[in-house]
């Protein structure tokens, strides 16, 4: 049990360090690839993110950026073939729910992910189920419907690229991505 918890902690640290490159990411890339194809569409989401980022400086979001405490934990890991939020994540869920409840303008995307085993489209459905599980928990504890959006990526964006269980357990996850952070 201790070993499992320690492992969980390690995974969280790994995931958070990976996560820092996540928030504002890739607008440039998306824009560039859109331009290359001659389609302006892909740029839209990127601009929205950038705007929220500027505004957020005036709404006291320092908490989110502190790098410590339960709010800094943005990745929830899941057991194989399961969408249950494990009890060890309760403090983390409560902290995010309370933060969202007290910052009604803040929105977040819940990104669902699966490990690579099995069929890719079925994994999209599985990872959505995980994201909905996190959404339910946050809603029950005070987050409003309009604050949360779900995107399920299935096995398409692994956190770790290996083909064995130690990698897979880091890929079965939901990432809470706050707009502007």
């Amino acid at each position: 049990m201790m070993k499992k918890l320690a492992m969980g902690g390690l995974l969280l640290v790994l995931a958070i360090s990976g996560c820092s490159s996540k928030g504002g990411l890739d607008e440039t890339n998306a824009g560039a690839s859109a331009a290359r194809r001659g389609h302006a569409k892909a740029g839209g989401a990127g601009h929205a993110y950038a705007d929220v980022g500027r505004n957020s400086q005036f709404t006291g979001l320092g908490d989110l950026d502190s790098g410590t405490g339960p709010l800094s934990k943005r990745v929830i890991y899941f057991a194989y073939d399961s969408d249950d939020v494990l009890p060890e994540y309760e403090p983390v869920m409560t902290a995010h729910a309370e933060y969202l409840a007290s910052h009604p303008q803040q929105t977040a995307v819940l990104e669902g992910h699966a490990d690579e085993r099995g069929s890719s489209e079925y994994n999209i459905a599985l990872s959505e189920r995980r994201a909905r599980s996190v959404e339910r928990s946050l809603r029950l504890q005070g987050a409003a419907e309009g604050q949360l959006q779900i995107v399920s990526y299935g096995e398409e964006k692994p956190a770790v690229s290996g083909h064995e269980e130690s990698s897979w357990q880091q890929n079965r996850r939901v990432e809470i991505v706050y707009s502007g952070h």
Binding site: S21, S33, E121, V151, S152, Y153
Partner: protein
């Protein structure tokens, strides 16, 4: 009681059946060569006019890849005639070769830069079975070889060849901010790859329209899933589905008018059909479970889909207009991504078991399930137009690859692909 009319009908059926049986036996006979395949010799072409591509080598590789031929090694050939009249049949008979192909490339007349001529001989009877002449430009040399391979294949098997078809797949490379997903199309042998579109966000599930002119795929380029249909010659494309939640698993109806797809806009993943021209949406499934990965039966009347309504993912058959789904698979705890063979008689799928996730084939008549591959992480099965070979993705030895397996499971090979991990595969019509 058998009435006279019925009796004569029965007789008719019996005769038909016997004819089919005789044909089947004949086919089996032909196949009982080396390793159950037909020996054939593709003599190096006289092609001083054309540098670079070795046409005979390409034809031989194509025929070998079909799983039905064993081309003779060049070093074992008893002679290398170029003009048709130079063939010495007895030496080929002695070498155990029933069929011999010779050919040459000469400068073209009119607009074409080159002209390829070739002849397929029956070395036993000493007769010509097929002779053709194909004008081509330099950039089409490989395609010309594929066309010749398909003509030879069709002549000797009575079935359509698939060497001159294409495959689509998604590659992913880089990490973090340099992550790049590319939707690509290549010839069926993996050569001549070109990019259809690229994005820093995932691209998934490419599928060819039945006429091969358009492709539907899922792209996350707007940081959420949407389904696009792109014209492959003009590059023009449009968004056909961008509802909240999942927009996934597009599948073209056989007539090309409708896409089956998975949407979760109503709370959980359900199968819908979308009239591509009008945008009219029809909901097919209603269940709290996951319903996804629809694929059409060749007659366009039914869809096979993956559902976990029974607790584990299994394949179900449902009418394309909706109704109660019927469970198709019972073997094992994981059967997903079912796709019908072009004749509708079998269903390829991803079967999960003790050893891993493999490509399996189910006979729709007997419901018998046969394992075709032995990988740990095989997925994304897609049939060749003639139903003889299945394209799929595999992850073995730390590499993500494209591979092909014949439907008898006898022949399996990797397709060399550049550009990173391969994540989805679709064979063109």
């Amino acid at each position: 009681m058998i009435t006279p009319l019925r009796f004569s009908l029965w007789l008719g059926f019996l005769t038909l059946g016997l004819t089919a049986l005789a044909r089947a036996e004949l086919t089996v006979d032909i196949n009982q060569g080396v390793e159950g395949t037909m020996p054939i010799a593709i003599v190096p072409f006289g092609q001083e006019a054309l540098a670079g591509d070795n046409l005979a080598g390409i034809i031989a590789a194509d025929l070998k890849n079909s799983g039905r031929f064993t081309p003779l090694d060049e070093v074992q050939m008893p002679e290398r005639p170029v003009p048709p009249e130079a063939v010495n049949f007895p030496v080929w008979q002695s070498a155990g070769q029933e069929h011999v192909v010779i050919g040459q490339v000469v400068p073209g007349v009119g607009g074409a830069a080159y002209e390829a001529t070739f002849t397929l001989f029956d070395a036993i009877r000493g007769t010509s079975l097929l002779s053709d002449r194909i004008p081509f430009k330099a950039s089409d040399a490989r395609h010309t070889a594929h066309r010749m391979a398909d003509l030879i294949y069709q002549q000797l098997t009575g079935e359509r060849g698939i060497s001159n078809t294409r495959i689509a797949y998604v590659t992913a490379s880089g990490a973090g901010k340099t992550r790049e997903y590319r939707l690509q199309i290549a010839d069926a042998d993996g050569q001549g790859a070109r990019e259809v579109m690229s994005s820093s966000e995932p691209i998934m599930s490419p599928v060819w329209s039945p006429d091969g002119k358009r492709m539907a795929y899922v792209s996350f380029e707007d940081r959420k899933a949407a389904i696009y249909v792109q014209n492959l010659s003009t590059g023009e494309r449009r968004t056909v589905s961008a509802t909240p939640g999942i927009n996934g698993a597009p599948a073209w109806s056989p007539d090309g008018s409708t896409l089956a797809l998975t949407l979760s806009k109503d709370g959980n993943p359900e199968i819908y059909t979308l009239d591509v021209a009008s945008g009219a949406l029809n909901r097919i499934t209603r269940d709290d479970a996951i319903d996804t990965e629809a694929s059409w039966s060749p007659d366009g009347r039914s869809l096979v889909m993956t559902s976990d309504r029974g607790g584990k993912p299994q394949l179900y058959l449902v009418s394309a207009t909706g109704g109660e789904p019927q469970r198709l698979t019972y073997e094992g705890d994981y059967n997903a991504r079912g796709v019908f063979s072009p004749d509708g008689r079998s269903l390829a799928m991803v079967h999960g078991g003790e050893g891993g996730y493999r490509i399996a084939l189910m006979d729709m008549g007997s419901r018998h399930l046969k394992m075709l591959t032995r990988g740990r992480l095989d997925e994304s099965p897609s049939f060749a137009a003639n139903g003889r070979v299945i394209l799929y993705t595999r992850k073995d030895g730390g590499r993500d690859q494209l591979a092909m397996v014949t439907v008898d499971g006898q022949s399996q090979r990797n397709i060399p692909i550049r550009g990173g991990e391969v994540r989805g595969a679709a064979w063109s019509p």
